[in-house]
Assembly symmetry: C2
Homo-oligomer: 430 residues x 2
């Protein structure tokens, strides 16, 4: 961890910058794979899966037998844990439902919004070492609550042609029935164009490696929406003398273990706290299975002493972290000053892992500074809000003359005429 003591304000811009990565241009690969999927459909999926996942599948869809088998492979304890998390996530996200409020903006002019679930959504769950069944909960539960009609889950099979049982158990628990063994660019292509087996969707959600990220970006050119732009995970912790150094160290490490490109920033109000936390990091690091990965991530990370918590929050707003932990006793006082962050954790007991798994908030959050302009995934991400309006004869009489004047000033005479005809009829009736 690189440390800085009371850096000058003029250095903040460098200190809040993220490591620039060589973005490999993957667009050509994506267009090639997409092209094959458009023409060869399922056949292309089988071929790419053989090429990239080293397995020749006979069926893309996960069978009921496989789901039943998965249920037997998961311990009762883990099942209960998943159910607790699911229940909290459902409680938090169902409170995001919006009541219909009819607003009479002018007498006789009633306007309101109604929510509709996006009909067809695709959820991508990465494969690899860590089976992200928690992401299955985070995306599947709000999709269900939103009333999305078709929820399609894609995840890559392992070399034996299997999906991790925790992912299958979780998907089944929350009622996702359409689970397909396909990953990478080809999964995103299938969701974008549809094949004989996999239905085309309207919006694609979920994390993934650089190939998946590139494919999601390209998919947008074909009319599909995506959840948000993706980047490496990150946390910023603000600590003072009321923080518990070992907790802060543990929270920083739980971010660092995600990958070597994870970023971790520690802000403290005094040097002693900074040093105590660094000592704790080094101690805890020793016993971590993903030690080397975490150590690598820490090399790019920063520990900075600033003058006050206010200053730390100001720094954080410029950085706009995905996760912000205010690990101090007075955390709540600073809430109004927090402008840019994905998710905020207050006090010594609110560790990031809580939000990652089970507190109920969503863990799909804006990274890479996108907390400045994007929200994390919520029920809103799975719905559209349609505006409705009903004008009575009185309503059009009240606002009609204003519309006529404005339309005329914009030189849109047919717009004006649509009002004039109605007003004429009403005045002749009166």
């Amino acid at each position: 961890m690189q440390t800085y003591i009371n850096p000058k304000l003029s250095d903040w811009s460098t200190l809040t910058s993220r490591p620039t990565k060589e973005v490999q241009d993957l667009q050509k690969i994506v267009f090639d794979v997409f092209g094959k999927i458009q023409t060869e459909k399922d056949q292309a999926l089988f071929n790419f899966t053989e090429q990239f996942d080293q397995v020749r599948l006979t069926s893309l869809k996960v069978s009921l037998e496989e789901i039943e088998e998965a249920k037997l492979l998961i311990s009762e304890d883990l099942k209960q844990a998943i159910k607790l998390a699911a229940s909290n996530i459902e409680r938090f996200h169902s409170a995001q439902r919006e009541e219909i409020k009819v607003i009479e903006t002018t007498k006789g002019v009633n306007c309101w919004r109604e929510s509709r679930g996006i009909e067809n959504v695709g959820i991508y769950i990465p494969g690899g070492t860590a089976p992200l069944f928690s992401t299955t909960l985070m995306l599947g539960i709000p999709a269900k609550l939103a009333g999305c009609e078709n929820i399609i889950l894609c995840t890559p099979p392992n070399a034996a042609g299997k999906i991790h049982p925790a992912i299958l158990y979780t998907a089944n628990l929350i009622g996702i029935e359409k689970i397909y063994k396909v990953g990478g660019i080809q999964a995103i292509g299938a969701l974008t164009f549809g094949t004989e087996t996999i239905q085309k969707v309207d919006k694609i959600f979920g994390p993934g490696n650089q190939y998946v990220t590139a494919a999601k970006q390209v998919a947008q050119n074909f009319g599909v929406a995506i959840d948000m732009p993706a980047g490496p995970s990150e946390v910023l912790v603000i600590a003072d003398e009321t923080s518990v150094p070992k907790y802060v160290a543990a929270d920083l490490l739980s971010q660092a273990e995600h990958g070597i490109d994870s970023q971790v920033i520690l802000l403290t109000t005094n040097e002693q706290t900074l040093n105590e936390i660094i000592v704790e990091i080094n101690t805890q690091l020793e016993v971590l299975p993903r030690k080397e990965l975490a150590a690598k991530a820490l090399e790019n990370s920063r520990g900075i002493v600033l003058n006050s918590i206010e200053e730390c929050v100001a720094f954080s707003n410029i950085y706009a972290p995905e996760h912000l932990i205010l690990a101090c006793e007075t955390a709540e006082e600073y809430i109004p000053k927090i402008i840019n962050a994905g998710s905020v954790f207050l006090g010594n007991y609110s560790c990031e892992s809580a939000g990652d798994y089970a507190s109920g908030t969503n863990h799909t959050l804006p990274t890479n500074g996108y907390a400045k302009n994007y929200s994390g995934v919520s029920l809103d991400s799975f719905i559209k809000k349609i505006t409705f309006q009903k004008l009575s004869s009185e309503g059009i009489q009240n606002i009609g003359p204003a519309i006529e004047l404005m339309a005329e000033a914009e030189e849109l005479f047919a717009h004006k005429n649509a009002v004039t005809l109605r007003l004429q009829d009403l005045s002749s009736k009166a």
Copy 2:
């Protein structure tokens, strides 16, 4: 207008398709202009404005004198009309504010969301013949309500170096102070990168021609968010024997006059209504100033007779129109069946012009079928929702064991450890 009587279901896919346009590849032009703006900043803006708008400006910012002058050029009647519209738009959008609801998902685990305005937003208002001061209201008012700190408005100057007074009057009325004379790709570039005069923003809103649209798309690669993908404006009207043919005709024409690529679809439950409306269209078309434009748009438009209003709504859901007018007396009965639409107008007095100008709903809506996966602009478009969580010692004890199990199953041991350390401390205290 091409007409179809009870087409087969197998033809719906063709009938709900939009005319495919040759999308000219403008990316190279955009990257060239963006490159110049990154290096030459203001100087590039002056040069491009001279090149594309045929005027050599001495200052990019609209002066206070120009705003005072604009106020004198607008009639009192139009000012009152704009104020009425502004008041309705403000009323409707301020009702979209969300109260903070703290959800205790498990005893001791409190989670909630808070809204923050996006700090820096750019609003683009096109120039050309029709001065879109109405769009200034539609984007400026929710930006103000959201508490966006910096609202930057860009709009191209005319050959005399002036902005239309209605745009200046409207922007000033709603409190937008930073108005710049710059249009096209160069405006989007300035908002994306910032120059000496124009501040970089986090999100760009507003309609525009194909160059602006292409520039907004490219801007996303540089960390800027945009309101939504753009396409030609469109309306779908559902009419039956309770509709007033001349109103329906007027509504269809007010869409058609937007441009030759506007699309207009009329669905009726009987042939007689269809014919009556077509007769009315031809009559009204004759006296329109933008007659040729509207006539051209109508050539690509469709009038279709279907068996019932239910069937019309089903067709509309596949088409996913920007504007949907249910011009029949029983309109409200069909609301629950409407799944995909930007904004819906109910009954004979709810003309599209009402929503375009003054009813209070937003007129920035998803086109080109994007009503399937995007909402129109609302207060939500100008805010981010940040999740907060605070766990008490009881809270972490209640959900901690579940987090430990889940983190372990995902093989993320530092995530687990962040909880374990806290639980150990608490159990040793007990």
